[in-house]
Amino acid sequence: MSAAPAAPLPASADPAARNLLLVPPTPRTGWRLLPARVGAMCAVELQKLRHDRTELYTRAIQPALWLLIFGETFTRIRAIPTGGIPYLDYLAPGIIAQSAMFIAIFYGIMIIWERDAGILTKLLVTPTPRAALVTGKAFAAGVKALIQAVVVIVIAALLGVAMTWNPLKLLGVAAAVVLGSAFFSCLSMTIAGIVLTRDRLMGIGQAITMPLFFGSNALYPVSVMPGWLQTISRINPLSYQVNALRGLLLGTPSNLLVDFGVLLVAAALSIVAASSLLGRLAR
């Protein structure tokens, strides 16, 4: 009290007002903590996208090219057995999954950047368990992917792909997209926790995206793959995501229960892995 305040707190200026900076908030406990943290992280992601939409536009270019060039060409060639649907239709769900994965797989770079900037350090000193922080980040990546999925669906619709407009099925599509990016972003954060630098993560990210993409049913059915690639496709969560998206959007035969089961388990495992390695980034 010896020094005169440089900028008096609001309450000093108006004693009638409540000075909230003296009252600690009541802590949330138990199950209500996780949704609150997830909400906070998703809100940040949306706010950032609102301030800078550049990423939104540039990210739309690649899937548009895939559909426009690769899709249109292979529709004419008719080389890939799609079970009677036009190849462009077959490809669209694959591109939704692929473009969402490409965003999520580099999410770890953001974590490393946040570590270098001290943002992560500060978040780790808040009453947020590491698993809640990682889950929050995973769903924040899902928010980005969801916006990306909408963009791809609009492009596909403009190209004449016949997709469902059933709101329940679209909700399922949203769930599959969010779960898929939760898995891939946590995979990326796990790698970030191991390699600890942006350059190495960039290299590994580049190295694994293409095998994940080509080793899945995004471009062609599993049945045309050689045996070893079929095995890879079977353990690749991207395949299950594409399967679910195709089943929901186009009505192709798919086992949604298995697809969503695999996506849920994969997401949960990767959240555990990423949160156990997050501490390494804080050191």
């Binding site: 009290m1 010896s2 020094a3 305040p5 440089a6 900028a7 008096p8 707190l9 609001p10 309450a11 000093s12 004693p15 000075n19 909230l20 900076l21 003296l22 009252v23 600690p24 908030p25 009541t26 802590p27 949330r28 903590l33 609150a36 943290r37 909400g39 906070a40 809100a43 940040v44 706010q47 950032k48 301030h51 800078d52 270098d116 900037a117 001290g118 943002i119 350090t121 500060k122 978040l123 780790l124 000193v125 808040t126 009453p127 947020t128 368990p129 804080a282 050191r283």
Partner: protein, 304 residues
């Protein structure tokens, strides 16, 4: 000011302690470290640290780069485990009850850690949310935190457009929004120009005066510690080498020098002299490893 005094008293009553000056025995401990050791590989960054910060004081942890200040702070903030020794924050074990400790803390790390892609207000809102401030009082609380650091007018600009001093004040608002009982600042004025440094300290001072919160601050600017800290601890090679109010430490060295035959006309010693006296000639040898210097430079370049 009467109001301020009242709220400070309220706060102390609520905390169940009294922080009257001179009433040392009864004042509560905000932070206590006993026998804290933390090693990176073979080097003990913190080597048997004993530290006690009293409730309501501004406590400065001083020392050159590499003295172990940041490592000690990271153990207190629960960022690092406590391998050897005991760290308590208002009685809560920093190794065991981490969530309880975190709820009492406001932390400003060494780097300029505001998110440049968000506005000032959004940066503070994030911390209000992760500290469970209910929606109905969020806007008001965030507004008060921004007003307390003089950022009300700039609140809706992107933090990326802020100057270094403004980012520091924004971080202070982020830390204040949860009404912490202990504010921990790691090198709060590093890389700032003298005017911004004074500005940051004046806001820390004002906030402390209005809320009565305890402030634990590390710095290697001895002049700042002299001016703004109630008590300081000089840390070197992972241990506390001297402890007291800046006046006590300076007076102590002055007396010793006079006893050694220094002339009365010699200029009174500064805190830096005290530190040189304690650290001896080894001061420049082991201090500041490469990573420290690099991170300091990075911070400086971010400030611009």
């Amino acid at each position: 000011m009467t109001y301020d005094r009242l709220t400070k008293a309220d706060r102390l009553t609520e905390a169940g302690g009294s922080a009257e000056v001179g009433d040392i025995a009864e004042s509560r401990e905000a932070v206590s470290c006993t026998g804290l050791v933390y090693a990176f590989g073979d080097t003990n960054a913190v080597d048997g640290l004993d530290l006690s910060v009293r409730e309501g004081e501004v406590f400065g942890l001083l020392g050159p780069n590499g003295a172990g200040k940041t490592t000690a702070i990271r153990c207190v903030t629960t960022l690092l485990p406590v391998p050897v020794g005991m760290v308590r924050v208002f009685g809560n074990d920093a190794a065991g009850d981490r969530m309880a400790v975190r709820r009492l803390l406001g932390y400003v790390p060494q780097q300029l850690s505001a998110d440049s892609g968000l506005t000032g207000r959004e940066n503070v809102v994030l911390f209000a949310r992760v500290f469970d401030v209910p929606r109905r009082e969020r806007a008001e609380r965030v507004g008060q935190a921004l007003a307390a650091v003089g950022l009300s007018d700039a609140a809706d600009r992107l933090a990326g457009t802020y100057s270094g001093g403004m980012v520091r004040r924004l971080e202070l608002a982020q830390a204040l929004v949860s009404a912490p009982r202990l504010l921990i600042l790691d090198e709060p004025t590093i890389g700032l120009d003298p005017i911004a440094r004074t500005g940051v300290w004046e806001h820390i001072d004002a906030v402390r005066a209005a809320t009565g919160m305890t402030v634990l601050v590390t710095t290697h600017y001895m002049d700042e510690a002299d001016q703004y800290c109630d008590r300081v601890a000089l840390m070197h090679h992972g241990r506390i080498r001297a402890l007291g109010t800046p006046d006590e430490l300076r007076a102590g060295l002055g007396e010793r020098r006079r006893a050694e035959g220094a002339s009365d006309t010699a200029p009174p010693p500064t805190l830096e002299d005290v530190f040189r006296d304690i650290a001896g000639s080894g001061l420049d040898e082991r201090s500041g490893d490469f990573r420290d210097v690099r991170s300091t430079r990075r911070t400086a370049s971010r400030v611009g």
